[in-house]
Structure formats: structure tokens, C-alpha cells
Symmetry: D2
């Protein structure tokens, strides 16, 4: 059975990545692509690499006939999904790749995103899209909120350790190195090639990054107490990928065992042998997350390294994985693309 898919915000990088993935998906058919400023253009004009695909022209969102759509991927700027999803027909399932429905608490949303939420009821209904931890809820959901890409990378490393009470909750430090596609296709001087190509630059340090809201929500819920991690992302001159170095206090072997046990049967999360850590380049273009654990020379200290492709497992791949569940397909359908290297 073929499912009819619309992608809203198809002119962004996550939109293009959805198209790339769906190009070889056995049961998804793209019936509509929307873009705001680029409506009227062919996708091949906006993304020449998609030239060989047979795709609908970009239109304004309001031109789409949603009665003919089974599932919508909303890859819109933060804030735009709320009203949109509220107004869609009930028959349409939605995977939102933005931040609008990631937080369950309207006050937290307002605090981090600086605006009142306009669809509070939906916010409560939305299921957090970290598939491996919300699989059953996602299967039954009408609306799934894709996680932040950083939020996914770190949660794969730390959730089992918090669940199993293996680490000191007050001493979690996560240092991330981030591919630049995470900043999207928007025009910012500091995203120019000449600015980024020979630089490593931290940003939103000290507790200012919005993905902290997701960490606070998820980790505190698991722990049953307030957990506030230290989190520093950095821009590195690579298009895709996130690698997180998570410094924790706990027994490294127990940590490794916990992760191995947790992900043993997961198709997209792989734990490396003890003492090995992955590199960011080994998951590029795939829906995989690789995790490694290394013990420090000082007992009781451990490093947990987690890496994924921010555009794939960190957003568009995760979105397709969730859509597969929501539409009753095999969870791995269309997602077995091997990483590309070199």
C-alpha cells in the first residue's frame, strides 16, 4: 500500500533530506511539496541534486489539498507548525520536525522559545519522537514531535544510564561537535564558507541552547528529580553529523553493559566494543547512531561518545522512522541506506 506524503518546508535542508530518503522508500509517495518564498519553482531549481527525481512543483502550503494526504512532514521554522497542525483535517497524521511540540509544558515552551504556544491542547497530545524510547506511543499517535538533533544524540548516550541510576546526575558534561547543515539554509554571515571553513566555534554555551529544554524535560522525568546538564555545541567545518562527548561519573564497565543491553535489538543504534569510540564520519547519510564507552585512567570517570547524522537520524531519518510506525509499515522501511564514506 502506498502512503501519500506531503512535505511542508521542502526548501530547507531537512526537507531535501526527506526527499532523498523517500526516493528509495518502497511505500511512500510524495504528492505535495510546499515552500513559502520559493513556491512556483521546480524542486530541481532549488536543489539541483534532486533533478533526476520526478517531483511535484513547490507550492504554497494553502494550495495543498490535504484530503488527499496521509501524512505530513512539517519541516518549518520554529513557531509555524502550531497553527498549521491545529487546522489540518483530523485524518492527516503529522510528523513535525521543528520545535513546536517537543515540550509538554506550555510554560517551558514560552520560557525557551519566547512566545506563547497557540495550540496547547495539541502540545499535550504530541508524542516525543525519540523512537527507541516512545515506540508504542508513536505507533498510535496522530502527531509526533521530532526531537532536536543534539537532543537525540545525547539522549541515546545518557537515557539508559539515568534509567539505571549509574551516573552522578549533577556532573554530566556534554561537549558536542556539530555539522554545519544543522544551521539550515538561512542567510547568516557566520555561516558563509569563508567564515566557517577554518574555524571551530562554540555557541550558546553556559546553558542558553534551546535543546536544553528537552534535556531538562526528559532527564528530569526519568530521574524523578531536576537534572541540569552542561551542554556545549560547536560548529566544525563538516556538512553533516553530530558527535557528543559525554563526561560522566560512574563505573565505565557498568555503563557499557547498560547501553549494550538497552540497544541489543535496536536496528539503528549500535554500541561499540568497550574501550572504542566512534568517529562522526562513520554514520554519514545513514539512519544510524553509534555509541562508545571509554573508561578514564581515574576510576569512576567515564566518557560516552555518541554520533549520528543530524539530517538523517537526527531529523529526517528519525521522521521517516516514526512515520513508518504511524502508518503501520516496517520501522526500517527505506532507512537501510549504508553510511557514505569517504
Amino acid at each position: 500500500m502506498t502512503h501519500k506524503i506531503a512535505i511542508l518546508g521542502a526548501s530547507g535542508y531537512t526537507g531535501a533530506e526527506l526527499v532523498r530518503i523517500i526516493a528509495t522508500h518502497p511505500s511512500f509517495e510524495i504528492v505535495a511539496l510546499s515552500a513559502d518564498r520559493k513556491a512556483g519553482m521546480e524542486m530541481s531549481e532549488v536543489y539541483p541534486h534532486l533533478r533526476a527525481l520526478d517531483l511535484p512543483k513547490l507550492v504554497k502550503m494553502e494550495e495543498i489539498d490535504f484530503s488527499d494526504v496521509d501524512l505530513v512532514f512539517a519541516a518549518l521554522p520554529h513557531g509555524l507548525s502550531q497553527a498549521l497542525v491545529r487546522d489540518l483535517p483530523d485524518t492527516v497524521k503529522v510528523v513535525d520536525l521543528g520545535a513546536d511540540f517537543r515540550l509538554r509544558d506550555p510554560l517551558e515552551y514560552e520560557k525557551w522559545y519566547g512566545a506563547e504556544h497557540v495550540a496547547v491542547e495539541l502540545q499535550k497530545e504530541a508524542v516525543y519522537g525519540l523512537t527507541e524510547f516512545y515506540r508504542d506511543e508513536i505507533r498510535d499517535a496522530r502527531l509526533v514531535a521530532g526531537t532536536g538533533c543534539n537532543a537525540a544524540t545525547v539522549q541515546y548516550a545518557l537515557r539508559p544510564l539515568i534509567e539505571d541510576a549509574l551516573i552522578d546526575l549533577d556532573r554530566i558534561i556534554c561537549d558536542l561537535k556539530n555539522g554545519i547543515s544543522g544551521a539550515g539554509r538561512s542567510l547568516k554571515e557566520n555561516m558563509l564558507f569563508a567564515e566557517r571553513s577554518t574555524d571551530v566555534l562554540g555557541y550558546s554555551q553556559g546553558g542558553k541552547h534551546r535543546h536544553l529544554a528537552e534535556f531538562d524535560q526528559e532527564f528530569s522525568a526519568i530521574a524523578g528529580r531536576k537534572v541540569e546538564i552542561v551542554f556545549t555545541p560547536h560548529l566544525v567545518p563538516i556538512n553533516r553529523g553530530i558527535i557528543a562527548d559525554c563526561y560522566v561519573e560512574g563505573d565505565p564497565k557498568a555503563i557499557h553493559n547498560s547501553l549494550v543491553a538497552r540497544y541489543e535489538t535496536e536496528p539503528f543504534v549500535t554500541v561499540l566494543p568497550y574501550g572504542q569510540a566512534p568517529g562522526m564520519g562513520q554514520v554519514t547519510g545513514s539512519n544510524q547512531c553509534h555509541i562508545g564507552v571509554i573508561g578514564d585512567r581515574v576510576p569512576g570517570r567515564a566518557l560516552v561518545v555518541s554520533t549520528l547524522d543530524n539530517l538523517a537520524k537526527g531529523s529526517s531519518g528519525q521522521a521517516v522512522q516514526n512515520a513508518n510506525l504511524m502508518l503501520g509499515e516496517d520501522e526500517t522501511a527505506g532507512l537501510m541506506l549504508a553510511p557514505m564514506f569517504p
Copy 2:
């Protein structure tokens, strides 16, 4: 029906790329992987990005039971395929990704590769693997010789123009920009990251590059006279891709028409609208070749730009395309992966 595949020389980049492509091929099963120095290792040790795949261990070539193999991809250093292919059982089909069988004339082989050919009979039997121009022969072949990656890029641009007698055969200048994976995984000082990452460097200029042997053979055969193009490859700091700027004398519109007509029904070769040229980044990871034609301000001069991914359409993708034909499969099986961008 599943075809049993062996990859010889699996520890090189084209070997790894074959594995990546075959990972989602519907009817190919990898039954053996060989590597010389790395025999005994798991593929995941040699290529961590392939960790999530279920692959046979690397072995020495002589450990493979070829009676259980339908087709061999030989991704060996130049010179090693000749004896090997000669000694394989007749039942095994072979796609050779090296240079051993590209040239039909033993003297030409000796001239360019500096050694006598040890399997001259096979050299005559081998079919040149430029699928779109040797499709029927490939379908019936036991042995197909994959083209040089540069040779493929330029031939897609120029063969139809020579066939249609549209350009001055004495004034063909091809300036190529080449991704660095083309140099393979071998240890050379000038392939270190620090040496290449801020440099553009021409090499084998002035008529020294071995792919000229293929151009001479193919273009002269089509033209019915000696054709010697000017050909300059350059290393650019990108992993994958080749883009060829071919400067020719002829009518640009007629040139464009010729290419459009020639490739109209080809699944993997796309000609852009007149006046547009592709960028190297728009075919990465795919089996596509994109071609554009631009007329110069001076009438009678034209620029034909051709681009493909050297590891995919330029070698491993081409190899799978040919294998599909040789095994009676759909030519596009496993090859519809969309390009990856960014």
C-alpha cells in the same frame, strides 16, 4: 533470484563503495570479501562505517570458493587482475574495476602501463564498461572492464559529439577537477589531509595520464582517425566527484541537441537545459552523470561540462550497473539512490 557476489580488493575505497551500494540491492548477496594485507580482519575494523552491516570476514583471494560465486567484482591494483581472471572458473562472471582490460591493443597496454599483458586473449574478449555505449555487448559478456573514472566523465560529454561530427577533433581541451578519493587509500605524502585541504593541484599534465589511452582508443575508433585530446586533471579538496570542463569548437546549440537526443532515455545521464552547467556536488553518492552546454560569446566555441561521482558512476556504481545487465537484472536495480546534499 539472489546472485552470489564476491568482491576482491574490498579494503580499497571502490570496494567499500561496492558494499555500500549492494547493501540495499534487492538481489545481490555478498558471499566473499578479499583483501591482501588485511585478510583476517572484520570489514568493520577496516571500515567502521560499515559496522552495522552483516558481512563476511576479509580473506585472502585464494581462500574463496569461486564455485559458489556468480559474479566477481575485482577492485584490485592495476596489473593484478590479469592472471586472476584468467584462472577463474568459466562459470564466474567478472566486472574488473581496474585498468587491466580497458585497452584492446596489447601494445597500447604495454606503452601506458609499462608491462606486458599476461592474458592477451582475455584482453580481446573483455567488453569496455561504458554501459550506455556498450550495453548489448555487456549483457552477453563474461568479462567487463570498468572504465577509468575520468574516462567515463569526459566520454559522456564528447562521444555523441564525435559520433555526430559536431566538433573540431584537433581542438578538444578537457580540464578536470577531481575528488581525492580517486587516489585511493594508499599512503602518499601528497595525499595527507594537511597537504591537500587548501590546495588545487594539477597532475599528469601534458599528456601523461593513463586515462588518455582510453580516450585515444575510443575517440579514434569513433572518428575513424587519430584523435588526441588535451587532458588535465586537478586535485580539489573534496572526497568525491569529478567535473570536466570540455572546451570544444563547434555550434553550441547543435552540441546541446546532440546530447539531449543521445541521453533522452538513459536513466543515469541527464542533460541540463541549454546554457546551464552542473556543479560537482549535485551527483554525490548517486549513479548519475549530469551534463550541461554553454555557448561562448565568440560564435563557434562551446563549453561542455560533465560531472559524476568517481566512486559511484565512475567506478562502483558503473560496475553494479554492468553486473545487473550481465546477470539479467533490471539495469537500475540498487542504483536509484538519490544524490546526497548537503
Copy 3:
């Protein structure tokens, strides 16, 4: 004696490069820096890499007291220098890094830049800033027009050959690979890191690039007839540098001899031994131009390769070299910085 220097348009890359070079210049003192939108900011806010230098605050151009200035470097967007230079006090010397005074013919200016020139008298007075060929005029000039960076790269390779009548004037093909800083710091989607970092992209092909106006003017003047070269620039993922492959018809050895003779005593132009070609990375950050000549396997064909750093010898270094002459300083003052590698 210290010369008082003002830099107009200091917030662009050529402005920052002027500051970098002047930082170790023995007799230049920066007394004013202007920027339009960034007026009021410290240079260290606009360019953190200049933080350790003691520099004047950025101001609006009209705030500068030019009576206290010996020489102005105008690094302004094309079109803005004309009126400005016209209105400066006669006592101030000017090196213009933009295109406003490169063309001597007002009609040619209008044709290529799409607007009437507003300071036609100055346009005639301005000296073309290719130091090695206009040295005497520059020494006496009040206004020097810096060359286009591509224009400089190619002219170093070809001017002596045209002067010595060594090459076929109707068959000159120049294929350039260009560092991305040449596009400046302006916000364009196709200059984002993610767009450029894995791409090689030609632009303004077929005779549309404005630097052709300079080639036409200069080469035709030398030859005494109309000369129209083919010229194709390409963006490569490197910050700095231009390398030009110039394909010509002529005797390679004679060509090499001509270049060696022409540049023998030049401090900033080096000709490599016959048969060697430079790489783009070997002049980075320096005021040098390196040139090589390679003969083709077909007699009568030659490749002349020329490379320089577009921000240094291609613009800001050239500008300082000219300013040295205009101010009676040693031509090499402040310009002996060795290239940076890796």
C-alpha cells in the same frame, strides 16, 4: 617617515587583509577605518582575529578628516568609489581595490557594469594597477586602479607571451579555480558553507564575467588587434587562492623562456623550472605569483599555470605594493611575508 593610511570599506575581506598586511608594515600607520553598516563598532567585533591590534574604531566615511590622510585604500563595492574619489582633496593619493577605474573606455565600463561612469575624467587619469607592467606610471599616479584578482592571475601568465607574439591569439582558453573569499562577505545562499564545501561550480561561463573587460582592454592593446579569450572561473572549497590553467597554442619552450626573461628580476613573480606547475596552496597569505609551463604530448600546445592569493597579490597585497611606489617607499616594504603552509 610614517604614512597615514585610511581604509574605506574595512569590514570586507580585502579591508581586513589590508589591516593584516599593514600590521607589520614598517612605515604605514592606519589612522581611519570606515564601514557603512558597521560604523560605530570596534574592528575586533567585526573581525575577532584582529583583536590584538590597536586599531581605530569603524566610522562612516564622511566622518574621516582626509586632510590628515596621505593615502586611501578604497575597498568599496563596485560603483561607490567614483564619486568618492572625485570629491577627495587633491593631496590624498588613492588606491582603489574595486572595479571603478579599471577600464579606460567609459563605454566599455557602461557595457560591463551596467551604469554610466560618474567620474570620466578620473577614469582616464587612473593607472591600471598591475605593478610589474605599469610600475613607472604608478610611481607618479595619484589614483591607481587595482586589477581584478582573476585578471591579475591570467595576465601574469599571458602578457609576455602576447608581447612576444608567441601564441595564437584566437585560441586562448583560461580555466580558473577560485578561492571563495573572492565572493566577499556578502550574504548569498550559494556562499553558505554547506552549499560550497563539497562542490566545484563554474560561473559566468561563456563570456559573462566582468574581468573579461580587463582582458579585452589589456590584451587587445598589447596585440594591436581584438583579442577575446575564453575564461571560466570555478568556485572550489578553499578560502584563498586562484589558479589559472591557460591552454595556448605555441612553442612551450619559447613560452617558458619568455616568462623567465620577463620576471627574472621581479621580487614577487617566480617562474618554475620548465615542466613543473605550481599548486594553489603554495602562495597562500603571500604577495607572490608562481607560474609554470608544461608542454603537451602534441607539439605546439602548451599549458601555462599561474597562481596567486586573491586577497593578497590579487588585491590587498597588490594595493600595498602600489602604495609603496606612490609614497616613495621600497616596493617590497611589508610584503615579504612567506606563504603559510600547511
Copy 4:
């Protein structure tokens, strides 16, 4: 007065960087360059970017007449300096850029470098080359041991904080991102362009990196107790630069004040305004170190970020700075080169 300089191991990257810096040094003259395997070659063959300089030919070390040399820079592989320095005439001063004399304790040396030290007396005499903290001793030294490049980056951030007892000594976590030139010019598969250009890869995690020996030695000496930091370097696809994120527990404002006070008069160490952190690209090619402090949302946690160019301030620039002191020159002579950006 001109000082006669010999560079041993001139064919490595730190050797080439010494040549680059000395090219504009007012009082250093290079009289000898040695290389082992490349003896007999011109420096321009080994490093084409140095072609325009007038340099002695590369020779074997034993061919150098050290009676004519004032100071030797030894940029040799670890282990080779010990016997060499021991056997030099007493009149020659030495700056060693390798690891042979960094550790004062022969047992520690043996533990970390796996071999007995063969010049134990010299090991004791050698002064640790972190100029800003050993300035007086360096001025009088015959032998100065250049620091590890990582070791320098982190010590600039942390030494004042340990001296001032501002941070918890048991909770110091340093996450570094390292330019690839730090690995030198030696042939390793994982240093090939194609391996590194799209990867971020941690190495020597968990307490295995040899620079830890320097941290242990220096920090423990200051603190008067054993201090063992967590230290993780990462390869990022950039040629030059190190940026260290140091996560500490302490009062961020007090930390900032301590650093500001400590480096107020230092010419090469700059502390940014509170709440700002430097990027790695803002010191490239210069002898500068930039440091920033950011407080976390959780009181009592701070991030101290330190960056320098590993080839300049991290090794060859530091070496020249120390040589200036040893030879009675101005400490900043030849070292005021501004950073290069973009």
C-alpha cells in the same frame, strides 16, 4: 646583531613553520637546515611554498658545522634530541621542539615514552618552554624544552586558576579540537585527506595521551598535590589550530578576573570580555593565544576556552619567542604577524 640559526628536522611541519616565521625576523639568519631522508634536496622541493626564499640546502645533521651556529631549533621525532643535544658544543643554545626534555623526572619520561632517557643530566637542566611562566629561567637557559601544543593551550587556561586556588582540582575536564597538522607529515592511513575531511575523531581518550605527563607535572607542582585532569583531543578537518574547552567548578567571574590579571601585560595572551569565547580560526598563523570565560546557568560551573595555532604559539612561534629571550632580543621580534582570516 644577527644570530646564526640551524634548524634540525626542517622537513617536518614545525620546521617549515620556523622557516616561515624567521623569513621576516629582523635578526635571525638561517645558516643550516637538516633533514634525514631528504638530505641533498632543496627546501623548495620539499616545501614549494618556500620557493621564493633564499635558503641553504637540506643536509644530514652530521654535516653541519655547529661552531658557526648560535642557536639550534631541534624539530626532531621524539627520542632523537637527547643524544644530539648532549653531543653539541657548549656554545650552542638549543630550543627543542620535541618531547625529550619536557619532563623533569626520568621515571615519568620512561613511563610515558617507553624508553630510558639517555641524557638525564640535561633533562634536569632543561627549562620548560612555557614562556609566560618560565621567562626568567628561559632567558638564562642553554636548553629550552618546547611544550606540547595541547599542553600549552590548556595551561594558559588553567595555570592561573590553580595558582589562585579557584577551581576544584578533582573535576577538570578538557575537551580539545585539534588541527591536523599536529600529526605531522608522517604517512598514516588515518591522516589521508579522504579519511579526515568529513570526520571528527577523538583519540588517546581516557588518559593515554602523552601530554598528560606535562599536565600532571606542571599542575601537581603548582597545586602541591596530585592533579589528574580528564583530557580528550579530537581531530577536526582544519590544518592549524587547537581549541580547548575546559570545564571547571569554581566561580566564573573570579576565574575571569584571575586570567585578566595574569595576562594583562602579556603581548601574546589575550583574555576576552567576560561571557565571550574565541573561535579557533581567529589566531591562525599568529603567535597569539585567546582565552574566554563563560559562566554556566548552574552557579559554580564555568567554561574556560583557550585557542592557539599549534604550529605557531603551540610550537614554532613559542620556540622563536624563547630563542629571542635566550639571545637577548626583544621577546616579540619577528612574532607580530597578525592572524590570517579568512
